[in-house]
């Protein structure tokens, strides 16, 4: 079976590779409710992308501005320790976010991260340069 998925808001449908049978009216919750929070993650928007963000670790300071301003919540976060960890009043758990890579399953390639990075630690490259 193939699932028909919408592209954009207008509801234009096209066949997608990932397969899921459309359920019948007895199999879905009543009233249009969606009970699986955040299940949009099953819908990969990464194939909208024509430019891909490339991280340049030497320039990155882990300021996390790219994470803050990503419209698609697709800058991954790694947790690291505060340099002051162990001092009074500072938790011993990781308490600072660190750049953890781009989630290319969802990145639409808008390039805001590259545009706004104060350290020019992100570059946008054409998607066709990549073969994966």
């Amino acid at each position: 079976m193939t699932e028909q998925l919408k592209e954009g808001n207008g509801g234009h449908t096209h066949q997608k590779e990932h397969k899921q049978k459309l359920k019948n009216w007895k199999e879905i919750p009543i009233g249009g409710k969606i009970l699986e929070a955040g299940n949009s993650k099953e819908y990969k928007t990464g194939d909208w992308r024509t430019f891909r963000p490339i991280h340049i670790p030497e320039k990155c300071t882990n300021c996390m501005i790219c994470w803050m301003i990503c419209p698609d919540s697709c800058v991954n976060v790694g947790g690291v320790d505060d340099p002051n960890k162990g001092k009074k009043g500072v938790s011993d758990k990781p308490n600072l976010g660190n750049f953890g890579g781009f989630d290319l399953d969802y990145c639409k390639g808008c390039g805001i991260c590259a545009e706004e990075c104060p350290f020019k630690a992100i570059e946008m490259k054409e998607e066709k340069e990549f073969k994966d």
């Binding site: 954009g8 929070a37 993650k41 992308r49 976010g97 639409k108 545009e115």
Partner: protein, 308 residues
């Protein structure tokens, strides 16, 4: 207030996989606003881009309880949820501290939802309303709203031989809301995200209604390259077209004054193709009119903030 790296370890309340346009300002703002409280939140969203793009059945991008009712009633809907919470808490059926948040676009807030918003503000429900102002009915295909700037092209304020785009100035909704004398009103911009998070924190913390109006650049509606969303927002602030300020218990506070670096409005206009026709010599008078209006409102705001 937490810094960005601390915020980065908080839970993501808007999941990826939503279908907003690449470079959309709405989700940048929504993500930042929802980091304004650590308490659980219930969110209502008016019909519009944010609503349709985040909840295309059977998918939802929301990791928080969320309701869309209709276009004009996000404020009334959240009123009902907040009233339910008050009673159920009083009855001991709920013991958590829960916050209430409504999102509406400029269509759903400046226009069709204004009455519903005004009513909810007057009744004093404990909620935060965030207007995501992208200056037009973008979800229905770019039509003018009362928030669309003077001179802007839209599909219902076309540029032709006689008419040259929208012929009315933008409604000053933030001042309209401030006239309700609620505890907290603010204007914010996506490019100044820490200011936005700070304002959201204040809004969630006050008892009673709070309102934040956030300018949200729209790639297809304003017509600019998608990576420039934050630049567009910043320029709107630097030209004083969209000043950043707060009204806290009726006290007006200016958050940012570019002073001598205040840029002319044309700098913002020329970044957007919706104003392309204003670059022609025969339309300079329209730009001048808009500049006059921006200056007038800016001086007026400074006076209100005691900086006049």
């Amino acid at each position: 207030m937490a810094n960005i790296r601390e915020l980065a370890l908080t839970n993501e309340r808007l999941a990826p996989g939503h279908r907003l346009c690449p470079g959309c300002g709405l989700s940048i703002i929504a993500r930042a606003v929802m980091r304004g409280t650590k308490d659980p939140i219930v969110v209502a969203t008016a019909t519009g881009c944010l609503e349709v793009s985040t909840t295309i059945y059977p998918y939802t991008a929301w990791n928080v309880p969320w309701i869309h009712n209709a276009f004009e009633n996000a404020a009334a809907t959240i009123s009902g949820a907040e009233a339910a919470y008050k009673v159920l808490k009083k009855k001991g059926k709920i013991n958590k501290e829960i916050k209430f948040l409504a999102f509406g676009g400029d269509g759903g807030t400046y226009d069709i939802g204004l009455q519903s918003l005004s009513g909810a503000l007057e009744r004093g429900h404990n909620f935060v309303y965030v207007c995501l102002d992208n200056e037009g009915y973008m979800n229905t295909g770019i039509q003018r709203s009362s928030s669309t700037p003077y001179g802007a092209w839209t599909n219902t304020s076309q540029v032709g031989k006689i008419h040259k785009g929208k012929e009315q100035f933008k409604k000053d909704l933030t001042a309209v809301v401030a006239a309700h004398h609620i505890p907290y009103v603010a204007q914010a911009s996506s490019h100044n995200y820490m200011d936005l998070v700070r304002k959201a924190e204040k809004a969630f913390a006050v008892k009673g209604p709070a309102f934040i109006n956030v300018l949200s650049p729209c790639v297809p509606g304003w017509k600019y390259p998608m990576q420039l969303t934050q630049k567009l927002a910043k320029m709107a602030v630097d030209t004083c077209f969209w000043p950043l300020f707060e009204v806290e218990n009726d006290k007006w506070i200016l958050n940012y004054d570019p002073g001598d670096n205040k840029k002319p409005i044309i700098e913002w206009l020329k970044m957007q193709k919706r104003f392309r026709h204003l670059m022609k010599p025969e339309n300079t008078h329209i730009v001048e009119q808009l500049q006059k209006n921006v200056d007038f409102r800016w001086e007026n705001l400074k006076k209100l903030c005691g900086k006049g």
